[in-house]
């Protein structure tokens, strides 16, 4: 289930970039995407592909933004270091643990991703972030 969700995320991104698919292949991919999307619609909706911290100018926001972009680009080691720095600056910021949970998920470390998501929840996230975390958890648990 999780695997499908990730596939769809990347597919969605790929669709944006690669427009020269043969029509037949595109249809197949599109249908696969729709099927995958049907299985985890919420996760796709909740997880935006552009960094939600883009406009932040503060230290924590800057690091979260850089970490988001590094993770999205597949530079997991860099994302991990940036989140480590963010955690030192603000060890009770739920965003940091949520992002780390996303990173672990992307690395295929689902058990640790779940634990980090729980940790993020325990730090009293705002309503929006709480929703995102819960969606991540439900995707991980399913």
């Amino acid at each position: 289930m999780m695997y499908n969700a990730i596939s769809l995320t990347s597919l969605t991104k790929s669709c944006g970039k690669v427009i020269s698919f043969p029509p037949g292949l595109f249809v197949v991919l599109f249908l696969t995407g729709v099927l995958a999307g049907c299985s985890t619609p919420v996760l796709i909706q909740e997880e935006q592909s552009s960094s939600p911290y883009e406009q932040r100018q503060d230290a924590l926001g800057t690091l979260l933004n850089q970490a988001w972009n590094a993770r999205e680009a597949g530079r997991f080691g860099e994302a991990e270091s940036l989140l480590g720095r963010a955690m030192r600056i603000s060890p009770t910021a739920p965003d940091v643990y949520y992002q780390l949970a996303l990173l672990r998920r992307d690395q295929g470390r689902f058990a640790q991703s779940r634990q980090l998501a729980e940790r993020a929840l325990s730090l009293r996230p705002g309503v929006m972030l709480e929703r995102k975390i819960n969606h991540l958890l439900s995707a991980l648990n399913s």
């Binding site: 991990e80 955690m87 600056i89 009770t92 729980e118 940790r119």
Partner: protein, 778 residues
């Protein structure tokens, strides 16, 4: 005469001829022998040269040195909102070799004007990439950074300084060096070195007849050896391949090898090797090799930042690092440094005015303490312990790994100061020992480790190795086990502080007493913990079941297998401070178990990341029971055995913790946390004799002292969804109202709240909450 007679008599002449022929025919072919001998010698020398050549090329082309792993503290990061006093920042900058200047123009310098700093940071290659050098204005308001502005006048979100080196992992030889490339040498280093040590370097082939002649003349004039004729190449050969013995054979070997070295390798490569090989000082057992490390060792600065005067001092020391040690013999060192500067001016390598100006400068050597890489041996022990799980000892001591740790230099210094200064006040005989472990409450980053009352002592590390009975420090596990059963236990459930006699599982009986030797009857659970009543703890522990308590301890992070004896309930097991810190870490983080992490990342000598040690968490307890336990541990600090902490810390700051005292007052413990830090302190004697100290009168003082000197945040509620707070009359375990005398607000897991109202008795007992509660009992 002889000739005449032989001419007259033919025979004798013939005879003479014949005898001469005989002589010629004798097997004494000197020329041939000499030729053969010469040839043999040449062959032997050639063979020997071939042998030496193999040695030279093998060692020179392979890995030249075993480079010890370098260990770094976590870098100081400045950002708006960062809590650090301007004084702490200034001393940290100085420790990292930043020069205080009036006009900040180059990396590694700073200026301070009251609450404003201008810092020109050094660039550094971190595991996550390169941090560029930055020029930043930093504004403070009190102990808080409020703004960072870059050179372009724009706000900067962050400034990350280069990390402070805190030690190394050395091979048995204790040789240490910091490799540099020739390009990293400061402007005058190589010209000065060549001017002093080998002025014909670029013209000779390894040996310099003119230098030898010059030295011979000088030595003859002086009537002894005052000058050497060795070239840089010869010096390198001697240091790199040979011993220090002064024999002709060794000199011959040195000469051949120097020629061979020059034959095979370029001048630049030989010079670069020399810059890294040359011996420049001693730091205990650690031998300081190369200009790169010497620059750090004497000036706490990267080599490339050295000015002319400092460069000249290092060059001056090549002749005799012990004799010209600038810390031990500053006058000697100054005289030779100025001599070097004079030579540089004479040879027009530097302008005379600049040399004269440099001669007026002090040596600029920082104190040994400031750059001591042995400041934090207890922490390095922890680092090594963690590293040995993943790396071979050989790799650690030879591969030039770089270890980035979580040590916070400011916290570490404050922790050591607190241990040292508190023990000084408690014990004039200097017999008491102490240990301390500090970690980040929310992440498990290990921030500081103190293993001895004496700073920098690298011996028995009590924070890791001193396993002592922990006394009441385990009591929170008993009550947490109870509170996880909200149907049976709440914070106000009466527990029995009454005499108890339990089979000890070894054929005897265990009959614990309270510290005051009095029993208190039925007391609310939170009060039993806050007052650390032994009999209440033993009774509750037995009621919930010893195996359950042991399981709770395991979930809290106690890894050692504890024996299933009742005495475990009152802390008979021996543990090291770091093990206790693991347990309290789980409580401080709100029920998430997270191993203490000393290391952040390891990179290889080229800066390529090898391992990262990121946070790993595991929720071990539901937030509800943890919230209740944390409330009770807060009561310990407000009104219980830990209350004296508020002599050090502002009363508005919520803290949690527990005292621990062992039989005959042999060990004094305190383990506690703020919103951001966990700290465990221990005081005792190495011979285990009584200390006359309880947890409150001993270890808590170190803890309080420490917390008063670092920025501290309040412990906050976990916000557990299934917990609600109500006003209760704790002694009656019944509901109450805020306006009732003695009523307090306590959290309950929903459904476990007292149902009945206990009335609203207007007590008139004055004093603390516990005096009031006591009043009710009485």
């Amino acid at each position: 005469m002889v000739k005449k007679s032989t001419t007259k008599k033919g025979r004798p002449a013939k005879k003479t001829k014949s005898s001469s022929r005989q002589k010629q025919g004798n097997p004494v072919p000197w020329k041939s022998i000499l030729f053969k001998l010469g040839l043999t010698l040449v062959v032997l020398v050639c063979a020997y040269a071939v042998y030496l050549d193999a040695i030279v090329t093998r060692q020179f082309e392979g890995k030249k040195w075993a480079i010890p792993a370098k260990v770094f503290a976590r870098p100081v990061e400045l950002y708006s909102g960062k809590l650090i006093t301007p004084g702490d920042l200034q001393s940290q900058l100085r420790r990292q070799g930043y020069q205080a200047v009036r006009d900040v123009r180059r990396p590694g310098t700073f200026a301070r004007n009251g609450s404003q700093f201008v810092i020109y940071s050094r660039g550094f290659h971190f595991p996550d990439g390169t941090e560029p050098s930055r020029y930043v204005k930093v504004d403070f308001q009190g102990s808080k950074v409020i703004r960072l502005v870059g050179r372009d006048g724009k706000n900067l979100p962050l400034l990350r300084l280069d990390p402070q080196p805190i030690g190394g992992i050395y091979p048995a030889s204790y040789e240490d060096r910091l490799l540099i490339r020739t390009a990293q040498a400061p402007r005058y280093l190589i010209p000065a070195l060549l001017a002093i040590e080998d002025r014909d370097y670029y013209d000779h082939v390894g040996l310099s007849p003119t230098a030898i002649a010059r030295a011979m003349v000088a030595n003859l004039k002086a009537g002894g050896v005052v000058q050497g004729g060795s070239t840089i190449t010869q010096q390198l050969v001697k240091n790199f391949f040979l011993t220090n013995e002064r024999t002709l054979v060794r000199k011959g070997k040195e000469a051949i090898m120097a020629l061979l070295l020059e034959l095979h390798y370029g001048k630049e490569e030989i010079l670069e090797t020399y810059l890294n090989e040359v011996y420049l000082g001693q730091h205990g057992r650690r031998a300081i090799h190369g200009f790169g490390l010497a620059s750090q060792f004497y000036f706490a600065q990267p080599l490339k930042e050295l000015d002319l005067a400092r460069t000249a001092l290092l060059v001056a020391m090549v002749k005799g690092p012990s004799y010209y040690d600038p810390r031990r013999y500053p006058e000697r060192a100054l005289e030779r440094r100025n001599l070097v500067l004079d030579v540089l001016a004479e040879r027009s390598i530097v302008p005379v005015a600049e040399a004269e100006r440099s001669k007026k400068l002090s040596l600029g050597v920082v104190s040994r303490e400031l750059v001591s890489t042995n400041d934090f041996p207890a922490y390095i022990d922890m680092v090594k312990e963690q590293l040995r799980k993943d790396y071979d000892e050989k790799d650690l001591t030879s591969e030039g790994l770089r270890i980035f740790t979580n040590l916070d230099p400011v916290i570490q210094r404050e922790a050591q100061n607190s241990v040292t200064s508190t023990l000084k006040t408690l014990d004039k005989d200097k017999q008491l020992q102490g240990a301390m472990v500090v970690s980040s409450a929310q992440t498990g980053d290990l921030l500081a480790v103190v293993g001895d009352r004496n700073p920098g002592y690298a011996g028995f590390n009590r924070a890791i190795e001193a396993r002592r009975p922990v006394g009441s420090l385990l009591k929170p596990a008993i009550y947490l086990t109870a509170l996880e059963r909200p149907g049976q236990y709440t914070l106000t459930t009466p527990v029995h502080d009454t005499p108890v006699k339990i089979s000890d599982g070894r054929g005897g009986y265990w009959e614990p007493q309270n510290y005051s030797r009095k029993s208190h009857g039925q007391v609310p659970l939170f009060l039993a913990l806050a007052k650390s009543y032994n009999q209440a703890a033993a009774n509750t522990g037995m009621a919930v079941g010893l195996p359950s308590v042991l399981n709770t301890l395991k979930r809290l992070g106690i890894e050692q297998a504890l024996p299933p004896y009742p005495s475990v309930l009152l802390g008979s097991p021996s543990m090291a401070p770091v093990e206790v810190a693991n347990m309290y870490q789980t409580i401080a983080s709100g029920g998430f178990r997270m191993p203490l992490r000393a290391i952040d990342a390891v990179v290889d000598s080229q800066g390529k990341p090898l391992s990262r040690y990121s946070i790993s968490v595991e929720q071990a307890f539901a937030p509800g029971p943890m919230e209740l336990l944390r409330t009770a541990l807060g009561m310990v600090m407000k009104d219980g055995t830990g209350r004296s902490v508020y002599q050090y810390v502002e009363p508005g700051i919520a803290l949690g913790g527990k005292t621990g005292t062992t039989n005959d007052l042999r060990d004094s413990w305190f383990a506690g946390y703020s919103g951001d830090l966990v700290a465990v302190t221990w005081i005792g004697h190495d011979d285990n004799s009584p200390t006359k100290l309880t947890g409150s009168s001993g270890a808590l003082k170190i803890w309080g002292n420490f917390m008063s000197n670092v920025p501290v945040q309040s412990v906050t509620s976990l916000g557990a969804g299934n917990v609600s707070s109500i006003w209760v009359n704790p002694s009656a375990n019944g509901r109450s109202h805020p306006y009732c005398e003695g009523a307090i607000q306590l959290p309950y897991i929903k459904g476990s709240e007292p149902k009945a109202y206990a009335g609203c008795k207007a007590d008139v007992v004055k004093g603390s909450l516990f005096d009031k509660i006591k009043g009710w009992f009485e």
